[in-house]
């Protein structure tokens, strides 16, 4: 039997302590941070270096056994969900920072290195790694590459894809290769760009070359209170219309603020309807000029608090970054949603979400990257009260609402297992079949993280529903042939 043979082969190649096969231990790997989906894998391997990753992948390929790479397991879309008859390749032992090169402003790191540890290693040279997902203390760079992770500051700085120069990968047949190069110029197709954000379906990363930036000379942050999310949203639009690109514009609604205040001492006004955190960074003169403009634009704010020092700024951010977890204080259970709408439709999206929540009889807290229209509605519910299905339906409906408003099913958490069945809302069959051609080029056998991104009848049943036209299609601006 393939799995027994595979286990023996992996034990022989990686050693007894490189393979986990006892059921109790395997359960540690049954889910990522989207804990609603759980599947215990058949085996877990813990390679020590790129060579062992290649050995493990090749062995899986030869035995026809599916596999999924796993970093810290902080993903929120079930992207690292195992298959029951499959192997989890944990990259936790590949956590070496191979090189920090201050002259060329880059670092070479293994995939299990955490996002924040890259910046810590670079700090000695005044450099840092820009993308900053909220989980940056624990999430790994390999996972960031798989998900094309963003973060609060991607409004100005972009996403993982904009900060990775090259990746060493093991292709799904076990062949090691390198995508990208020493500079952002590739001879030929941008295979690196196609790989970043492919959610672990095109290969396993064994090393990442990341760009490092100099830390900005000046950072200025304010928190502005508003009497409604609409007026806060209008302020965001006004900032953007003034030609300002802040490093970050974050919004939290009252429910989220209440949760945050319970959890950490962030100092937000518990009675305000919405708060915007606006941060500008860059050369001192430029930041001061622009910060004055931002403050002027926030005239509709009921209160503006300008962080007087790094400590107060850190408090704002502690509050913002603690928001997801803090919601746990308001509700025994919650779903974290991730969708994107065109920024100009934020107000409409929030109103629709509020109405949908009322109709479902559930509370929704909103925390989001307002600058790029990336919503993170948190659907509060109680398992004990039997609200699970209603909450899940509301959460899915919110993601699909984002598509209806001309946006996207996901801004940064990925499609994974969670939203595969919603993909036909956003893409036609031809779109998805074309994407599958790319997958087939990398992974003809379909063994590398199967069941993710693309809807399957087994996973979705009748759920996906018919394709609905994009708003621009309805308006006659674009056509689908």
């Amino acid at each position: 039997m393939a799995l027994t043979d595979l286990r023996d082969k992996l034990v022989a190649d990686l050693g007894r302590d490189g393979v986990i096969d006892d059921p109790a231990h395997l359960r540690t790997y049954e889910c990522d941070a989207l804990t609603g989906y759980r599947v215990v894998p058949a085996l877990v391997v813990l390679p020590r270096d790129a060579g062992e990753v290649a050995t493990a992948v090749r062995a899986c390929a030869e035995h026809g056994v599916p596999f999924v790479a796993r970093g810290a397991g902080t993903g929120l879309s079930g992207g690292a969900l195992p298959t029951a008859d499959g192997v989890v390749i944990s990259l936790q032992r590949l956590r070496r920072i191979i090189e920090v090169d201050p002259v060329n402003r880059r670092a070479v790191v293994q995939p299990g290195v955490t996002n924040l540890d890259i910046s810590k290693a670079a700090a000695a040279y005044g450099l840092y790694y820009a993308p900053d997902p909220s989980s940056q203390q624990v999430c790994t760079i390999g996972g960031n590459v798989a998900e094309n992770s963003g973060g609060a500051h991607c409004l100005k700085y972009g996403f993982t894809a904009n900060h990775v120069l090259a990746v060493d990968v093991v292709l799904p047949d076990g062949t090691p290769t390198r995508l990208g190069g020493d500079a952002p110029h590739q001879a030929g197709f941008d295979l690196l760009g196609a790989f970043v954000g492919s959610e672990g379906t095109l290969g396993v990363v064994t090393a990442v070359v990341v760009r490092l930036l100099h830390t900005p000379a000046t950072v200025r942050t304010l928190a502005a209170d508003f009497d409604s999310t609409e007026t806060a949203g209008a302020a965001v639009t006004a900032v953007i219309a003034a030609g300002i690109v802040p490093a970050a514009i974050e919004m939290m609604d009252n429910l989220a603020i209440q949760a945050v205040n319970e959890a950490v001492d962030a100092g937000f006004d518990p009675d305000t309807a919405a708060v915007l955190i606006i941060e500008l960074d860059g050369p001192a003169d430029e930041v001061e000029e622009r910060f004055a403009e931002v403050t002027a634009v926030c005239t509709a704010a009921t209160r503006v608090t300008i962080a007087r020092d790094a400590e107060q700024r850190a408090r704002f951010w502690r509050g913002r970054k603690a928001a997801f977890a803090a919601v746990g204080r308001l509700s025994p259970n919650y779903f974290v949603q991730d969708g994107v709408v065109p920024r100009t439709r934020l107000g409409e999206a929030l109103a629709r979400i509020a109405a949908m929540a009322d109709e479902a009889g559930l509370r929704v807290a909103n925390v989001f990257h307002a600058g790029d229209g990336n919503l993170h509605p948190l659907v509060l519910y109680s398992e004990a009260a039997g609200e699970h299905e209603r909450a899940e339906a509301l959460s899915s409906a919110i993601a699909e609402l984002c598509v209806e408003l001309g946006g996207s099913l996901s801004g940064e958490h990925g499609i994974g297992t969670d939203k595969a069945c919603s993909m036909p809302r956003m893409f036609s069959t031809d779109d998805l079949e074309t994407m599958k051609r790319l997958r087939a080029a990398f992974d003809p056998a379909g063994l590398c993280n199967p069941g993710k991104i693309f809807p399957t009848p087994r996973l979705c049943g009748e759920r996906p529903g018919p394709y609905r036209p994009h708003p621009l299609e309805s308006a006659g601006v674009i056509e689908r042939l």
């Binding site: 030929g188 196609a194 003169d285 080029a441 042939l481």
Partner: protein
């Protein structure tokens, strides 16, 4: 053939037999390999409409045949631009052509290239399949990013029909400072400017000068320029200096290559002229002849041939880099019959 709509393009691809070659404005006709003779030409310049533009969302959708200069003219009244300044833009380069060639200019230092600006594409595959990826929002991780895959594909994976781009604000003011220096000094000087955290939007070494351009508020750019070593350039001199950077692409034999930034001196020693985005390590290199191209390829992996004299029999691509087998596999899946752009990637495939 010159289709004027997406439907006509789809029909042209589907209903024509035999090999096809895609052409935009023809400003990069000499890039990469020469298409094999006998292919039917599909020209995209009939697809030149603005599809959707909402300035407050900072995104714009266009048909691929729209010249970038015309798009910039549409955006400018709203105080916006596409942060892409490839040298061939004034010659009429189309948005689709710039994506297909992954071309960029000095703004790559701060904004990257087409891969970093394209947020959605519609493509027509060799079998007539019309497929979209990405969308109309900047932050979006749903599905594979075919827009990036098609960057640098030179019309060999499909015809780019529509492109959605992110836009950036036009800066209120700009200022350029020129510091005369050689290649070795340029690497050091660029590093010092970055370490001083002055955030230039472009840092280009060309014809013995390091050009640092600042953009932003009027007093901020003046103050940053004032603390930058070198001579601040007035309007006419500034325009001329950047014009010279673009002119490097017009020399007889030109390649674009990517290296570690500190490799610039090794690139420069093969060159007659260089326009180098020195801090990111992307160089436009004019050389004396084919032999110098071969030497650059022997030293560096990612070299794209952009221009060569008529009659040159220099192969378009050098030794295959490690991902070339994967490029072949992708080509096989997207265009199994090899209809599109045969010869563009010769001798690789």
């Amino acid at each position: 053939m010159k289709p004027a709509t997406l439907a006509e393009l789809r029909d042209a691809v589907r209903d024509t037999d035999g090999p096809l070659v895609v052409r935009g404005a023809g400003t990069a006709a000499g890039w990469a390999g020469t298409p094999l003779p006998g292919a039917t030409e599909i020209e995209t310049t009939g697809l030149d409409r603005l599809l959707a533009y909402n300035p407050d969302d900072m995104t714009v959708a266009v048909e691929a045949g729209m010249p970038l200069t015309r798009l910039q003219a549409e955006l400018a009244p709203h105080g916006q631009r596409i942060a892409l300044d490839a040298a061939r833009t004034p010659a009429g380069a189309t948005v689709g052509g710039l994506v297909a060639t992954a071309d960029s200019g000095p703004l790559r230092h701060s904004h990257g290239g087409p891969r970093d600006l394209v947020i959605g594409v519609t493509v027509v595959l060799a079998d007539g399949t019309v497929a979209r990826s990405g969308g109309h929002v900047i932050k979006n991780v749903a599905g594979y990013d075919l827009g990036k895959l098609f960057c640098g594909s030179f019309g060999t994976l499909g015809v780019i029909a529509e492109v959605v781009l992110r836009v950036h604000p036009l800066p209120p003011a700009t200022r350029t400072v020129a510091l005369p220096c050689d290649a070795v000094e340029a690497v050091d000087a660029a590093g010092r400017l970055l370490a001083a955290r002055l955030e230039p939007v472009a840092l280009e070494w060309c014809d013995g000068s390091l050009l640092a351009r600042y953009e932003g508020g009027p007093s901020s750019v003046e103050r940053r320029a004032a603390v930058t070593p070198g001579t601040p350039l007035d309007g006419a001199a500034e325009a001329k200096a950047w014009q010279r950077v673009g002119d490097v692409s017009e020399e007889q034999t030109v390649v674009r290559c990517g290296t570690r930034p500190d490799q610039l001196p090794y690139v420069a020693k093969h060159a007659t002229r260089v326009a180098s985005s020195v801090a990111v390590g992307v160089h436009t290199v004019a050389v004396a002849g084919d032999a110098e191209v071969e030497r650059l390829r022997a030293e560096f992996e990612h070299v794209t041939l952009c221009r060569r004299p008529p009659g040159s029999d220099l192969p378009a691509w050098g030794r295959p880099h490690t991902a070339v087998p994967l490029m072949r596999a992708v080509k096989q899946r997207f265009d199994p019959a090899g209809r599109l752009g045969a010869g563009r990637f010769a001798p690789w495939f």
